[in-house]
Subunit: 189 residues, 2 copies
């Protein structure tokens, strides 16, 4: 990242001094940047299941929130569920929206660029013939995802395109979706 | 899918008659299987943003829930946030857990296999040197994700491995993560 040219330590709600402190620490000891995130899921019946998120490993120690976050997933009635929550592929859009947004906000802060407001809308195309096992040549997952970002920042209009590009350039979730990431699923005996 | 050998229409909480009805409908008119899922996101400040999920397109019509689902994302303090919600990469694990679980449940139901209980735990490895822009040769996203599934089903122990494999075989989110899916992020003018 480029050095911020700001007097205040807080830009876009991000503590830039701490951000550069983190970067310096990681440069000295890269092991600090090794993170392991975790989730637990319980099947509730039909298309309904519940994920809890509470602890993770990073900066060479375990971190535990006082209470877990609880996230319900289900399918809508047209997909034989009862709408107890968003469905799994809607959670993918949520992850992407959140990550691209945060990546823009943090990297803009590091550059001293103030963002006043940001909103986005996303859409993803999926052909259920894959999931249903009707056609093996149809991918099970998203064929394509599009994200449209509205941004109000203290930057000239021609710089806004550059600002939005910080998202795909740095976002871990954008990278996870656009790159083929290895996933193992195995029986826990 | 193979035809279910069951007398009841409900297996694992999934209406198998409706499931086979859907498959028959899609076989006759594949356009019915074309879905478009949607999400909207608003930046709240710092690492905190909020996604709402309400409508989607599928079976040749728009579907709208009466109220939107609201999902907050944030970073933990060690990543300069305030823990208003899980972070974006934790949402990826949530999407994967939910999707693999539902894929096993639905495809087991189609085969007439009763599942009594299912739980899973997931972990994903990430090196923040990528996100921080310290090293360009380090991927921004997950290096690897592992999911461990505990399953109690009316099937002999040697069949449980097969049952778990239904997840990676059919799950749209597993496919989205393990395949390189195109994502466009653009300025919404």
């Amino acid at each position: 990242m480029q050095q911020a040219q700001v007097s205040s330590t807080l830009v876009n709600g991000v503590d830039v001094d701490k951000l550069y402190g983190t970067i310096d620490t990681v440069k000295r000891a890269p092991v600090v940047a090794t993170f392991r995130f975790r989730a637990n899921n319980t099947w509730m019946g039909g298309g309904h299941n519940r994920t809890t998120i509470q602890n993770f490993y990073g900066t060479q120690q375990d971190h535990q929130r006082p209470e877990p976050f609880t996230l319900d997933a289900d399918e809508p009635p047209v997909l034989l569920g009862e709408d107890h929550g968003p469905n799994p592929v809607e959670y993918v859009l949520t992850a992407l929206a959140a990550c691209v947004t945060t990546s823009i906000v943090y990297h803009a802060a590091a550059r001293g660029i103030t963002i006043n407001a940001m909103e986005s809308r996303l859409e993803g195309d999926l052909d259920l013939q894959g999931f249903l096992g009707i056609r093996d040549d149809v991918p099970r997952g998203y064929k394509q995802i599009r994200m449209f970002v509205k941004i109000d920042a203290d930057a000239p209009p021609e710089k806004l395109e550059e600002l939005v590009k910080l998202g795909p350039t740095y976002s871990p979730v954008y990278d996870t979706i656009t790159r083929a990431v290895p996933v193992s699923v195995q029986l826990d005996k």
